[in-house]
Symmetry: C2
Subunit: 348 residues, 2 copies
């Protein structure tokens, strides 16, 4: 796969700020190949809008409903794209991922479709629903104690013992290419309706989704500004983009967005995002809860807190919608009923 020859090393960031050689970056051709692999496997999620909400906002707001993706989040796209490229001779040994959330389910579902064993390393206190869902996709779950055990060491032991392939959550060219297919679809769906998007807002944790979407729009709609949305206190991507180098979140922060708590952007994802993301936005828990309530009432979608961060940024006016056309990705819907009930009540 060729290095992206476009704007990398551009004004807003330097892909080799670490001074080290980084892995090859995915490009638009990689996204196209990912889209072919996902054809008939991933849901082509709808692009929805609400005329009454548009009237209230004085602009046009579109929601890419990635909560309807297989496994309830966009993570299936990257996982399937990555796993389908594991060579036949390595498939029987299976894959390993560590995640208590959406990546676990994406990898498990992709492995099941491809007939590969999957081992997911999860904290012993992971929500039962996520354990049950992961097992529902046929994966083996290996627990570890957060306080006393190192999940990476456990995964490494499994890899050594079984010859399994590690599937990273975001900092992997084929994971990024897979996630980027959601942006490719979004650009195509907008174009099919004759819409020129002023901005697209993407929930961001490690940056796999945001960098993939940015690649797609660079090729298909370069005039569209791409923004990341992160929880306050976990806006490492926003601050890294501003600083031109990767920075970490301070320890001890709290956010309701359990899916968006990565410590810092990935190496590959930051190299892709730095020249392509217009700015990073931080949203509060209250803004997220309000966005979940709007998704409930206007779009009939169940969106988890992290999945609602981009919608929150738009509704809070942090990415203006008035007299503009803005699309947001609602990237996941895996939320417990108890938390969902509390958040939409608080926001009502």
């Amino acid at each position: 796969m060729g290095l992206e020859s476009g704007k990398s090393g551009g004004a807003r960031g330097n892909p080799s700020d670490s001074g080290m050689q980084i892995a090859p970056l995915p490009d638009m051709a990689a996204l196209r190949r990912a889209a072919e692999r996902l054809e008939g496997k991933a849901v082509r999620t709808p692009l929805l809008e609400s005329p009454p909400l548009n009237a209230a906002l004085g602009g046009r707001l579109l929601v890419k409903a990635e909560v309807l993706q297989r496994t309830g989040s966009f993570k299936f796209r990257g996982a399937f794209n990555r796993l389908s490229q594991i060579p036949p001779e390595a498939r029987a040994q299976g894959v390993v991922a560590f995640s208590s959330g959406n990546h676990a389910q994406g990898v498990a579902a992709a492995a099941q479709l491809l007939g590969m064993p999957a081992i997911i390393v999860m904290p012993a206190d992971a929500p039962r629903i996520k354990v049950a869902n992961t097992r529902g996709y046929g994966a083996e779950v290996v627990f570890y104690e957060r306080a006393t055990e190192d999940r990476e060491a456990i995964a490494a032991k499994i890899i050594a013992a079984r010859g399994a392939t590690l599937v990273k959550p975001f900092d992997d060219a084929e994971i990024i290419a897979g996630q980027g297919t959601s942006g490719l679809e979004l650009a195509e769906q907008a174009a099919a309706r004759g819409l020129a998007l002023d901005a697209v807002v993407v929930p961001c944790s490690g940056g796999g989704l945001a960098s993939g979407v940015a690649l797609a729009f660079e090729a298909l709609s370069p005039g569209t500004a791409i923004h990341t949305a992160e929880p306050e206190g976990f806006d490492d991507t926003a601050r890294s983009l501003a600083a031109g180098t990767r920075v970490k979140n301070a320890r001890g922060g709290k956010s309701v967005c359990d899916a968006l708590l990565a410590e810092q952007p990935g190496e590959i994802t930051f190299a892709l995002m730095a020249p392509r993301i217009a700015s990073g936005i931080a949203v509060t828990d209250a803004e997220v809860a309000h966005a979940m309530a709007v998704a409930f009432s206007h779009f009939k979608l169940v969106v988890e807190p992290g999945g609602a961060a981009a919608l929150a940024a738009a509704l809070a006016g942090k990415v203006p919608v008035r007299e503009r056309t803005v699309a947001v990705l609602c990237s996941g819907g895996n939320v417990d009923a108890t938390l969902f009930r509390r958040l939409i009540e608080d926001a009502a």
Copy 2:
């Protein structure tokens, strides 16, 4: 529009059981024309499934997510198809409908798109959210007192004064043809995936949706059994189909399914359903609440009680899924947060 020449007057019902002449029945050609009119206006709603739920059910269950339709229910389809055929010279006088629910929003949104005035006659105690949504689509709302005023008389007065066109909720050939486009899409989506559907279950009130879906499947997948789903105590369609003649619900029943409380099937809808519906199913409030919770957790969809009746029938085993492939329409998602929160809690 020609009379349906197929199975009408068949074994399970007689379309002219009233002894009177009935209006022309819509046919497959009318559905095709409706689909052309709705192209680019209605959402082509996705057909979703959940592999873990399938594994638990031992079969394959597909959900046609009509909650994602414009206005949050299938009603937009029929309303737009009907309104788009009002001749140019009658458009300025507008349309009138009486409804406190999904039909109101469907008519208001269709009228707004077509640049026609819409007047919706609503009970003075209608939920504020439904009044706000209807106004959000640009409609004028005229209130009446349930106890002392006759909504049909009020509508008749508006029609006489303004020359507006009455838009019936279900017993109208073009409304039925519009609703049937959801079945046409469902049949096409299933065929595109190589699925042979054993059964389709459709929430049923007056029968507009069920009769339209039945028409589509008669033409495109005649081996698929079509079932209606109604609330217990409001299973007039089930009992009418069994009796071979239209019967009414007993007064005084209660159901959480506010959208499915029609007193009896329509004349046209019954003529269409009688020879084409395999059987009518009744579901309890508890089964409906459970279905709403499953739609929340497995499909990330907000489904209102009436919209969940067909899913409830399948999950309760009243339409068996085991070793079969069954599709259900989730027909609407317009539910207040308070009720939604209570029902998914009760069902958890």
